[in-house]
């Protein structure tokens, strides 16, 4: 599905959302687009507006030509804080989206094990989230989002709270999953490395007010091996370019 962010603006509110001004962005069908920017630039706010959780003060978001007014069942969100229900087991958490969508019980019983398998959670079905490591918890979050078979997957710094090694593993898993089931994927991150390794394109955001500064083509062929990508000339070139763009923004505030 194609996503069009058409001049979206959002004023500062006391609720902790960052301001956005006239954001323009197009996400192509089955593209993996990374939104990259310093913390506080409003990238999370933008993602929530795309999902329909927040209303824009100005402009609009179109998904396949239809304006987003509220969250839709075919768009799934993965949260930085995982957003798992502590009183539900892994299997129940993965089944959550299907259940609230009113899917039939036998259908749920058939789908849930598939995604538990896909995310390497076999054997943990009846564990509770607090018994799992952060990386495992986010696998549950991903499995839950994927289980509803969304056409658009929005990810809000999903690996931001994981340690460096777990993070790289999860990036590889995400690429593997995305290759198996192509979806339009918007991935918000503040890590330049993560954006280059994952993205087809990278939307650079500037802060105060939050706006899209530039969209960079990554042009690194797939399938990608993150290790090889990190060693390539294109990687350092991109990294240098992006950093020089963001540096001004970050430097002004540190």
């Amino acid at each position: 599905m194609k996503i069009v962010v058409d001049g979206v603006s959002k004023r500062f509110s006391s609720g902790g959302t960052s301001a956005l001004q006239d954001c323009r962005l197009e996400v192509r069908p089955e593209e993996l687009l990374c939104v990259l920017g310093p913390s506080g630039c409003g990238k999370t706010t933008l993602l929530r507006i795309i999902d329909g959780l927040l209303r824009a003060d100005g402009g609009r978001v179109l998904i396949d030509g239809r304006e987003v007014m509220a969250p839709r069942p075919d768009i799934a969100l993965v949260f930085q804080h995982f957003g798992l229900f502590p009183w539900k087991t892994v299997a129940e958490n993965v089944a959550y989206g299907l259940r609230v969508q009113g899917r039939r019980r036998d259908e749920i019983h058939e789908i849930v094990p598939r995604y538990i398998e896909l995310m390497g959670l076999r054997g943990f079905e009846s564990n509770y989230p607090y018994q799992l490591s952060g990386g495992m918890q986010q696998r549950v979050g991903l499995a839950r989002a994927l289980a509803v078979n969304p056409t658009v997957l929005l990810m809000d710094e999903p690996f931001g709270s994981l340690d460096a090694q777990t993070r790289e593993l999860m990036q590889e898993e995400l690429l593997r999953m995305w290759r198996a089931q192509p979806k339009t994927l918007v991935f918000v991150t503040h890590s330049i490395d993560e954006a280059i390794v994952l993205g087809d394109r990278i939307a650079l955001m500037a802060s105060r007010p939050g706006t899209i500064r530039e969209v960079v083509d990554v042009s690194i062929p797939r399938p990608r091996d993150p290790e090889a990508v990190r060693g390539s000339a294109r990687y350092s070139e991109l990294r240098h370019h992006i950093w020089s763009q963001l540096r001004h923004d970050v430097g002004g505030r540190v």
Partner: protein, 272 residues
């Protein structure tokens, strides 16, 4: 290192071990209760007063009352009143608490009444209830209900208010219906609060039950207390009192164990 210091150290370790065992919380509590009861017994026997009694006399009276079937007769009527009142308070308090926590409008409409009634010493309204509803079980159940419902309602409301807003966002992102939201988030997340509310309610419910029985029909543990106090049967008078104490302890400790089992994640987070 000389022999003497080694020996000193070894004995110090044994002494510390023994000391630790003697001052373990359980030992101290058990000793304290034993000494207290024994002192009561000795003092009670020594003063030989008509308005005082002692543990063994109470135990004897307990056995007599059980054998005569009297205790069970009064206890049963008390239990009926307590359980009906408590049940009604749970059935009304929890949904109303969630509703008040979820809907601003309902909150503003209802909270003056809740705060006013919760602040009122409910003992004061007993004559009113008796006038309206008579002296029978209905009146007593209503009184116990009034004593119990507020802690349950207010705790449920607090539980709903303390729900992680990020999880509310998760339910919105997945397009959850309001009914599913109650089942998946509101109830389980506020369950520890609700159980704590029920625990408070049991304590208040026992008070309500006894006071209601003081004022209304001639039955129940409350009536037993009045009756034996009027006739100076101190040993029998203490039987329902001790029984009420035991009920309070047993019911609240059952609730406590539920609390731990129903929300293990809370305690894990706290232990770490």
């Amino acid at each position: 290192m000389s022999k003497a210091t080694v020996w000193d150290r070894a004995s110090a370790v044994t002494r510390a071990g023994l000391g630790a065992r003697l001052t373990s919380p359980f030992t101290v509590r058990a000793l304290s209760v034993m000494i207290g009861v024994a002192a009561w017994e000795v003092y009670g026997r020594a003063i030989r007063s008509v308005i005082f009694t002692y543990p063994t006399a109470i135990a004897r009276a307990f056995a007599q009352l059980v054998r005569a079937g009297e205790l069970w007769f009064y206890l049963r009527s008390s239990l009926v009143v307590l359980s009906l009142g408590l049940l009604l308070a749970i059935v009304v308090g929890i949904p109303l608490g969630i509703l008040v926590g979820r809907r601003r409008l309902v909150e503003y409409v209802v909270d003056p009444y809740i705060n006013a009634l919760y602040a009122t010493p409910l003992v004061a309204v007993i004559p009113v209830i008796v006038l309206w509803l008579g002296f029978q079980t209905t009146a007593k159940v209503v009184l116990v209900f009034l004593f119990c419902v507020f802690p349950i309602l207010i705790n449920t409301y607090q539980g709903v208010k303390s729900i992680d807003p990020r999880l509310v966002e998760v339910t919105r992102a997945f397009c959850s219906s309001e009914r599913d939201l109650w089942r998946d988030l509101m109830l389980p997340s506020s369950m520890p609060f609700i159980l704590a509310g029920i625990r408070l309610a049991i304590g208040r419910g026992l008070v309500g039950m006894v006071v209601a029985e003081f004022y209304t029909t001639i039955t129940g543990l409350g009536y037993m207390i009045v009756q034996y106090a009027n006739t100076f049967r101190m040993d029998r008078l203490f039987v329902p009192i001790v029984l009420l104490m035991a009920m309070g302890i047993i019911l609240t400790s059952i609730l406590r164990s539920f609390e731990r089992r129903l929300a293990p994640w809370l305690y894990i987070a706290r232990d770490e």
